[in-house]
């Protein structure tokens, strides 16, 4: 396990999912809200769970578990919806939501957290890397890969 050098703090959010935990920079998260009724989007991908209104925008809500091919939580209504800012290079209205199983928790990373080795990472797509934070594996989503599947050319 590599141990990177200590550095300035990076404010992050730990996003609990079913069977894994994501960690993302706080700057990519716009808001965390309680689950609400989504409008289904016919003929959409199985990981797109619906669309909701948020600040006058129509925001698609995804299941990261479904995106990576894992079983989905039985009751997403028990958790939260994390609303992310648009992915890099996308239009300023392209916010998207993701189901979380519980309220995301803030984490201040200082670059001293060990980076997970390949063998410690689950064999899943859309995972860029992993960190061991307080001994717990947290996965960094591959936002560039997500952008390619959200917005195929």
């Amino acid at each position: 396990m590599k141990k990177p050098r200590a550095g300035p703090r990076l404010h992050s959010l730990e996003v609990p999912l079913d069977g894994m935990t994501l960690i993302v920079p706080s700057a990519v998260v716009a808001e965390v809200i309680n689950p609400l009724t989504l409008a289904p989007v016919p003929f959409s991908q199985p990981w797109l769970k619906g669309v909701m209104g948020w600040r006058t925008l129509a925001v698609p809500v995804i299941s990261f578990e479904a995106l990576v091919g894992m079983p989905e939580p039985a009751s997403p209504a028990a958790g939260k919806i994390v609303i992310f800012y648009p992915l890099n290079g996308r239009s300023d209205w392209e916010f998207y939501g993701m189901f979380a199983t519980a309220e995301p928790r803030p984490q201040a990373l200082n670059h001293s957290e060990p980076v997970a080795t390949g063998s410690e990472l689950p064999d899943l797509p859309y995972i860029a890397a992993g960190l061991k934070v307080g001994g717990k594996l947290m996965l960094i989503p591959d936002l560039e890969a997500m952008k390619k599947v959200f917005y195929p050319a």
Partner: protein, 147 residues
């Protein structure tokens, strides 16, 4: 005459979708259509125009073909090579001031050769009503065929 920024609300079962009025359409009463009396096939009814039969399809809220019987009108989209219809429980032309449409493209691969079926949504609070992309909707309806 309709305003290009006006929208038709199309009710399919318990769900409604919007159709931009600029797409060009004709609304027909059910009694002016020839109902498909066979339990087989995707077509709910036909509009007969100069010996040409234009199909109308009855879809559920997931846009799958169904044979619901409680529809009253069909909205025919003006498209090539010929118009194609969608049977609706209710149709309502919404006042322009009432609808502010937000852009919306479903993430992921589009389901039709002409792209995504939706291009916007009417957001009221946390509720979002999807707006059809007329060309993609017409392509989807045309793909249903007669069988």
């Amino acid at each position: 005459m309709t305003d290009p920024n006006q929208y038709l609300r199309l009710q399919l079962g318990d769900t409604s979708f919007l159709l931009p009025s600029s797409s060009g359409f004709t609304i027909e009463q059910r009694e002016n259509l020839v109902t498909n009396k066979s339990p087989e096939g995707n077509v709910a009814a036909w509009r007969v125009v100069q010996a040409t039969r234009l199909p109308a399809y009855c879809l559920d809220a997931t846009l799958r073909v169904t044979r619901r019987h409680l529809w009253h009108r069909a909205v025919f989209l003006d498209t090539l090579p010929q118009a194609v219809g969608l049977a609706v429980d209710e149709v309502q032309l919404l006042p322009r001031a009432e609808t502010a449409i937000s852009p919306f493209t479903p993430p992921g691969l589009p389901p039709t050769r002409l792209g995504h079926l939706f291009s916007g949504a009417w957001v009221t609070g946390h509720r979002a009503m999807l707006v059809f992309e007329p060309k993609a909707l017409a392509a989807y309806l045309q793909s249903l065929g007669e069988e």
